[in-house]
Symmetry: C2
Subunit: 206 residues, 2 copies
């Protein structure tokens, strides 16, 4: 198909498709003449993935490029998680002290030596944010959050496919960046549901 049809199939303006081509996020089409290229289903699929990453998952162009590169040329399983997690937490400087984060992780019975520095940085920043906001979190609440997340994570890791490195990369990376917005939406909907039960009144409908 031609560029205009590709754009239509992917539900994007032609200018956006050209931008992704220039940025190297989308692979070149097959040249059918010096000024015309032919695109196929792989281009449509790739554009859908790019849309998902820069849209709901809120990834930058640079981060999307890293993610796509990691899927195309996957490292080992352990490093995959590191790349997926670095993609979603790229902004923690190595010099950020993470003593409290390490302490929390060890307190949960997890081994902080298995944790990526950038993720420990993210935890530290979240804990600092709660403290700055005057939001006290008891150890009990923290453990409740952690065990809910471990229930989810243990199944996710058990399901990583091992038949091909590309399948594993796709699963881990997209499972990180695309599932995070889902989890947050579900938490908010669960809160709204629980709230309607506790403060039952005007909005109750049956």
């Amino acid at each position: 198909m031609r560029m205009s049809q590709l754009a239509q199939e992917a539900g994007l303006p032609t200018a956006t498709v050209k931008y992704y081509l220039r940025e190297g996020l989308l692979h070149e089409g097959r040249l059918t003449s010096p000024t015309q290229a032919h695109y196929d289903e792989t281009h449509v699929e790739r554009l859908r993935l790019i849309r998902a990453l820069v849209g709901p998952a809120g990834q930058s162009i640079a981060s999307t490029r890293r993610i796509l590169a990691a899927i195309a040329d996957p490292p080992s399983e352990l490093d995959l998680l590191g790349i997926a997690h670095d993609a979603v937490t790229p902004r923690y400087p190595a010099e950020l002290p993470t003593d409290r984060a390490r302490q929390v992780v060890e307190g949960l019975g997890w081994n902080s030596a298995h944790c990526a520095p950038s993720t420990l940085g993210a935890l530290q920043e979240a804990l600092d944010g709660l403290e700055a906001g005057g939001f006290e979190l008891s150890d009990e609440t923290l453990e409740r959050y952690a065990s809910a997340m471990m229930v989810v994570a243990a199944d996710e890791i058990a399901e990583i496919p091992t038949d091909s490195a590309e399948a594993a990369a796709r699963f881990v990376i997209l499972g990180t960046v695309l599932v995070e917005p889902l989890l947050l939406a579900l938490r908010r909907l669960a809160q709204q549901t629980a709230s309607a039960q506790r403060f039952s009144g005007s909005r109750q409908s049956g």
Copy 2:
């Protein structure tokens, strides 16, 4: 204290403090002369809260203003959740079709009539993103995520203080925007921990 000391106490450049004053996020100090104002602990605390909101919680200035206004002048409990959730999901147009999101919510045994349209929009976008990325999520997995989030949410709602409207607003709003980064960091750390157990090898340290 004077502006320069306030900035130092809050760990912010003076220019940033002046910016928050101009934007109306920080309340004015008490004028001690036509050109000089006096600031107190309430200003320091407010600045710490603003830092947490625009930093780890990733809120925009406009969203931070809405959040601070809702804390200062709190609506009823049910509306509080709506405001907190709208603050973190401000970008879903009302015309976005949310049929699939409603179907998922009802499938979980929750009542979609109790759910905020913006949150249903966020769920819909997350589901669309997963589909666009070719990431299939079984009903079983979706239920597992939802029940983990309900375990967390039910306790959170049960803990909303009812002694003062301001305390309730603070708890609900900050519990939404400041706890989300914590949950995501804990999920990633749980994945890294579970991954080290499944693919035990080079990084095992004891």
